[in-house]
């Protein structure tokens, strides 16, 4: 574990000794927003946990815009107007480069290691490009762990109806269907977790996979649920990011997130096969209506991407989609404008067939995931067209409907999985 720490960090951790709360902030060229995030965290720690020893860790991926300097210079916890009690212990602040594959997951790994080294009781991670973070987020993410014995707290936000389409269209419904817990934002980016869970994460041998990149969020959520840790959610209001998100190109992001999820389906096959039904996960905080930033979506471009994908990638789709699915897809995708539609059942069968192909390596995994991107864009366009005139609550109902179809089609997934298993006896476990 100590290999993860540069010498300076080791010395600093020895000086600090122990801490109750570790707040991690992964960053890469976020000088514009990270100062505000550090201030909010510092104030949150001072206001809600004045008697606790706390450390803020900035795990940086080699920023070239003085992100680390901004972290160390940001004022924090000094504004008396915001404090209801004075902190007994000052919160320490560390900014360190991380080791390993460049990516969010590697940054988290360093944060987990710091939490373990300091014997932290609770750990919180927040994105460094947040514009809507408030000190209250720290309380909401850490308190259920410190006070109520929860191991993992996922965020719960109000988002624009078009926002988070990988979450709404794939990850949330599948997490609920396969693992039986309704975690609404399983890849939200902000999490609270216990020191015990951080240590458990560190023991896994995943740090040279996509988990080291954007796959970290879903990996943390699924691991926590599948391994029986106590899971909750915290209502954080609205999530507003900085507009600029370096390195976030759709294909690699999709590949890393969906690939990690498919990979977890192999690891936790026994868990999801046994799971039936789902349960609500306790929600901490007081849900209130928030305004969200307006979004515009170019559906024509997405429809064109899907049509081009179906035309140009037929040979690839033939290798892992069933004849019926491919035929339906071809029929539906070539309707233009408002008539364009990818029905729920078709979308779900397509995802289940892709997950099976991923598990049994029916074709190169990278190629498989990349070939899903045009279809995902098509499904997103279909969803956007369908909910154009819907309110936020109607959209939630629509997502609920989608989840129910995912659940109803689970037998199709197990059938696919079993058939492929029989045909690919030589396939290596994931």
């Amino acid at each position: 574990m100590d290999d993860l720490f540069p010498t300076e960090l080791k010395t600093r951790l020895e000086q600090i000794g122990e801490a109750d709360i570790v707040v991690g902030i992964p960053s890469y060229n976020n000088a514009r927003t990270i100062g505000q995030v550090v201030r909010a965290v510092s104030v949150g720690l001072a206001k809600y946990f004045p008697a606790r020893r706390s450390v803020i860790v900035n795990s940086d991926g080699g920023s070239k815009d003085n992100t680390q300097e901004v972290v160390m210079q940001a004022e924090g916890g000094a504004d008396d107007l915001l404090l209801v009690s004075h902190p007994v212990h000052p919160s320490y602040r560390i900014s360190t480069p991380y080791h390993g594959i460049p990516g969010k997951g590697s940054a988290f790994r360093t944060i987990f290691a710091v939490a373990k080294r300091l014997n932290a009781k609770a750990c919180v991670v927040v994105d460094s490009d947040l514009r809507s973070i408030t000190p209250g987020w720290i309380e909401l993410l850490a308190q259920p762990v410190l006070e109520y014995g929860y191991d993992y707290i996922a965020p719960y936000y109000h988002r624009h109806k078009y926002d988070g389409t990988i979450t709404n269209g794939i990850i949330y419904p599948m997490t609920r269907t396969l693992y039986g817990k309704s975690v609404r934002q399983p890849i939200g980016g902000e999490f609270g977790f216990s020191g015990k869970l951080a240590s458990s994460y560190l023991e896994k041998d995943v740090w040279d996979t996509d988990v080291a990149r954007f796959g970290i969020d879903i990996w943390m959520t699924v691991t926590a649920i599948a391994e029986g840790f106590r899971v909750g959610q915290a209502y954080l209001g609205a999530k507003i990011h900085d507009a600029k998100d370096p390195g976030a190109d759709l294909t690699s992001m999709f590949r890393q997130v969906v690939g990690s999820f498919f990979s977890l389906m192999g690891s936790y096959e026994e868990v999801w096969r046994k799971t039936s039904g789902w349960e609500r996960v306790p929600l901490f905080g007081f849900p209130f209506e928030v305004g969200v930033e307006p979004l515009t979506v170019n559906t024509d471009r997405m429809i064109h991407a899907a049509q081009q994908g179906v035309n140009d990638l037929q040979e690839i789709y033939q290798s892992f989609l069933s004849q019926q699915t491919l035929q339906d897809l071809t029929n539906f995708v070539h309707r233009n404008g408002q008539g364009f539609h990818i029905p729920d059942q078709l979308w779900i069968r397509l995802i289940y067939e892709a997950a099976t192909a991923y598990r049994y390596r029916i074709l190169d995994r990278d190629h498989l995931l990349q070939s899903l991107v045009p279809l995902y864009l098509g499904r997103t366009a279909s969803f956007v067209l369908e909910v154009t005139d819907s309110t936020a609550s109607q959209v939630e109902e629509r997502i609920e409907q989608l989840c129910q179809v995912f659940e109803a089609e689970k037998t199709y997934l197990t059938q696919q999985w079993d058939t492929a298993g029989k045909e690919n006896l030589h396939a290596q476990p994931v």
């Binding site: 926002d163 980016g189 992001m253 997130v257 979506v297 170019n298 140009d312 690839i316 290798s319 029916i362």
Partner: protein
């Protein structure tokens, strides 16, 4: 008188009889070798076909995308059929070599010796071609996916270009291994390829200068716009 008659008529017959006595057994051995080899080749083809079918070889090949290519040739019914016929052909080649060795004539012995010396080149060329097929397939598929995800209209053309490029390189190297003049092919390919690139550059840069500028501007604008307004996670 008799000796002249013997020398002119009988001796040649004797020599012919001697040669026949040498040749006929060899011919019989050659014929038997060919018959047995042919039968063995047929049996091994049948056996290979059944084994490949049992091992679901066709399904495996289907996943790699080679199945349609094999069927398109119109010669082979399936990948298993191709594999079986390959084994049959191999057995036939060895049968011919055995038969030639059995003939035991200076020409056949020389032919067998030269062929044996050529076998490593054949194997190397075969491996190079096989590697070329695999690499060209992977690279062209990667190029196709990247181009489709970037929404380039000529995605299939790009993928096809990548495949042709890699396969041409593989063929040139294989020909080199076989000691067959590959230079004309390489030069022809270089001229054609450079010509295409040059023609496209001129067409795009001069003929469609405004369109190129507008396209690039639109590309940059739209990608920035989408990044700014839309979050997928």
């Amino acid at each position: 008188m008799r000796s002249l008659f013997d020398r002119m008529l009988i001796d040649p017959f004797h020599r012919l009889a001697d040669q026949c006595a040498h040749l006929v057994p060899a011919l019989i051995v050659v014929l038997v070798t060919l018959v047995v080899g042919g039968f063995l080749a047929f049996v091994l083809r049948w056996l290979t076909f059944r084994l490949l079918e049992l091992a679901r070889f066709d399904r495996l090949v289907q996943r790699t995308g080679f199945a349609s290519m094999i069927e398109r040739t119109g010669v082979f019914r399936s990948a298993s059929d191709l594999g079986a016929r390959f084994v049959q052909a191999l057995v036939w080649v060895f049968t011919m070599l055995f038969a030639l060795s059995a003939a035991d004539t200076p020409a056949s012995v020389d032919l067998v010796r030269r062929f044996a010396a050529y076998v490593p080149n054949l194997i190397a060329a075969g491996l190079v071609l096989l590697l070329g097929v695999v690499v060209s397939r992977i690279l062209s598929r990667s190029a196709l996916l990247a181009a489709v995800n970037a929404q380039w209209p000529a995605a299939r053309l790009i993928a096809g270009g990548v495949r042709v490029l890699v396969m041409t390189l593989a063929v040139v190297i294989a020909l080199e291994q076989l000691n067959i003049g590959s230079l004309p092919l390489l030069v022809a390919f270089a001229i054609v390829f450079a010509g295409i690139v040059f023609a496209l550059s001129i067409a795009f840069g001069l003929g469609a200068r405004d369109m190129a500028r507008q396209w690039l501007e639109a590309k940059v604008r739209s990608s920035v716009a989408e990044e700014e307004v839309f979050r997928h996670l």
